[in-house]
């Protein structure tokens, strides 16, 4: 995949966050807290949990639907990172060979169950994080984090990251293009040019940082980055948080899928 394409994809997830749906309109704090609670709840399940986790897919599905987020775009991103989860869980089936139950003669070991559990937890948490970004503008998230007590310095760093990642990537894109124009075939594409390209980019970044700081000083910067926009924590936020909290609690304490299964067993 070319550099240009990657750049425009990054821009795309940013444009998603400017939509205007019910989910987008919620206060960023609500979404940050809800996502955090969701992730913690999912991770708190035992290492053999599977049935308990399944109902949690309700949350991402709701977010996709209410937030009008293209499912494939997010899923592709999740799949790309899922390699890590597979590596983390890969050896579980080898080490944990205790047979948990047998299914029509097929013996299922604890290792496979915990492997599946890791994958499920991973899918849930990563899609929750991506959905948070896709439904909340980055400045909004920064604002929420500040209100929740994250130190000012980190907030500044995040805000600058967001603002200049696009500038930096455009600069890199121009350099990569310029290199491609003048390298015919494999010549000039080697590691050496790549290293000097990165070096140049780094030097330019330092110079830019200097100029930015200069322009901040000339507008009276003294250490805090104020955000002027006022976010309002309204009634719908309260309701959303409450519903999420209750739903998370119920799903965590009662194994819904297990209960349904037992009922079904009794009926037949």
């Amino acid at each position: 995949m070319s550099f240009d394409e990657q750049y425009f994809k990054l821009g795309y997830i940013d444009t998603l966050s400017y939509k205007n749906t019910f989910i987008h309109r919620l206060d960023p704090r609500t979404k940050v807290i809800a996502t955090l609670a969701f992730v913690v709840t999912v991770v708190s399940f035992s290492k053999y949990a599977i049935t308990g986790l399944v109902p949690f897919f309700l949350f991402p599905v709701l977010m996709f639907a209410l937030g009008d987020i293209p499912v494939w775009f997010i899923l592709r991103k999740v799949l790309v990172v899922s390699v890590f989860a597979v590596f983390v869980g890969m050896f579980n089936p080898l080490f944990d060979s205790r047979v948990m139950f047998s299914f029509h003669g097929l013996q299922v070991t604890g290792g496979w169950i915990s492997f599946l559990s890791i994958i499920l937890k991973f899918l849930l948490t990563i899609s929750a994080a991506l959905l948070l970004i896709a439904t909340t503008s980055f400045p909004g998230i920064c604002h929420a984090l500040r209100k929740l007590g994250v130190p000012e310095l980190f907030i500044c760093q995040l805000l600058f990251l967001y603002r200049y990642i696009f500038v930096l990537m455009e600069e890199a894109m121009r350099m990569v293009r310029a290199r491609e124009m003048r390298s015919f075939g494999a010549r000039g594409q080697g590691l050496r040019t790549f290293v000097s390209l990165i070096g140049t980019l780094f030097l330019r970044t330092i110079e830019r940082a200097e100029r930015i700081y200069q322009s901040m000083l000339s507008r009276g910067f003294t250490g805090t980055m104020h955000i002027a926009k006022a976010y309002r924590f309204g009634g719908s936020d309260l309701v959303c948080l409450a519903v999420t909290g209750i739903a998370l609690f119920i799903l965590r304490t009662y194994d819904i899928v297990g209960i349904i299964g037992k009922q079904a067993e009794r009926m037949f």
């Binding site: 503008s137 603002r163 200069q214 000083l217 000339s218 507008r219 104020h226 002027a228």
Partner: protein, 248 residues
């Protein structure tokens, strides 16, 4: 009004590596004047601009803005009076949205929330960009970025506007818009540029610098028609002057 005055008296500036960037620059710019600063690449224009709001302090000589002499102590005060518009709007616009960026200066001046809102709205209206207020800067066009960069500075209500290459990278329409905008301001304006036609339309006075010294200081009509002087400084007659010369 004495506070709109900028005076350089025998200013020297040496970079830490020993480069002599300014070698005794003296001039006085009074209230409401609009002055173009021209010179070859590396003549010392940018260094000169950096002295104006105290980002760099002169090695020798004195810079006075209004009644304040520029020192380490007064430079915060001076930055309120002198607004600098940098050459690259991407360096100037560092906040996540246009609104936040324009509000950055006023908020640092510790104004009340309503006052800030007023200032920001007014500044964005002046440059005709109020409809862009919720946009992130990376979604703006070059001309819009430039206009917003100017708004970020005028929102602080400076007495003196300093601009570095304001017309660079602009399409003709945006450039024309900028000229009209600047002509509508009654701030004292100092503009460093290579776009001599731009100076011809905006400024009355022009200063030519070469190797850190002022080699000419006079009315635009005298300096920008002096072919010899301009060519000595890697410049040439403004296109509009060349054309009238041919037709007459």
């Amino acid at each position: 009004m004495s506070h709109h005055i900028m005076e350089f008296k025998d200013v020297f500036f040496r970079y830490p590596d020993g480069t002599e960037a300014l070698n005794g620059v003296s001039f006085r710019i009074t209230h409401g004047e609009c002055v173009g600063i021209v010179g070859a690449n590396g003549a010392g224009k940018s260094t000169l601009l950096m002295q104006m709001n105290g980002y760099m302090l002169p090695s020798d000589g004195a810079v006075t803005i209004g009644d304040l002499q520029l020192t380490k102590k007064t430079r915060l005060e001076i930055r309120k009076k002198v607004g600098v518009v940098f050459q690259n709007p991407d360096d100037q616009l560092f906040m996540p949205t246009v609104y936040d960026d324009v509000a950055f200066g006023p908020l640092n001046l510790e104004m009340s929330a309503e006052r800030v809102k007023e200032r920001v709205t007014e500044a964005l209206q002046t440059v005709g960009c109020l409809h862009l207020r919720e946009k992130p800067p990376h979604h703006l066009s070059g001309g819009q970025k430039r206009a917003v960069a100017i708004a970020t500075v005028i929102a602080m209500a400076p007495d003196i506007l300093v601009m570095d290459e304001p017309s660079s990278n602009l399409d003709p329409k945006s450039r024309r818009y900028l000229i009209r905008l600047l002509n509508g301001f009654n701030h004292t304006k100092i503009i460093a540029t290579h776009d001599l036609d731009f100076i011809l339309e905006v400024c009355k006075r022009c200063i030519v610098i070469k190797d850190g010294r002022i080699v000419a200081d006079g009315s635009v009509s005298d300096i920008l028609t002096d072919k010899v002087l301009l060519e000595e400084n890697n410049l040439e007659l403004p296109l509009s002057v060349q054309n009238t010369g041919r037709s007459s």
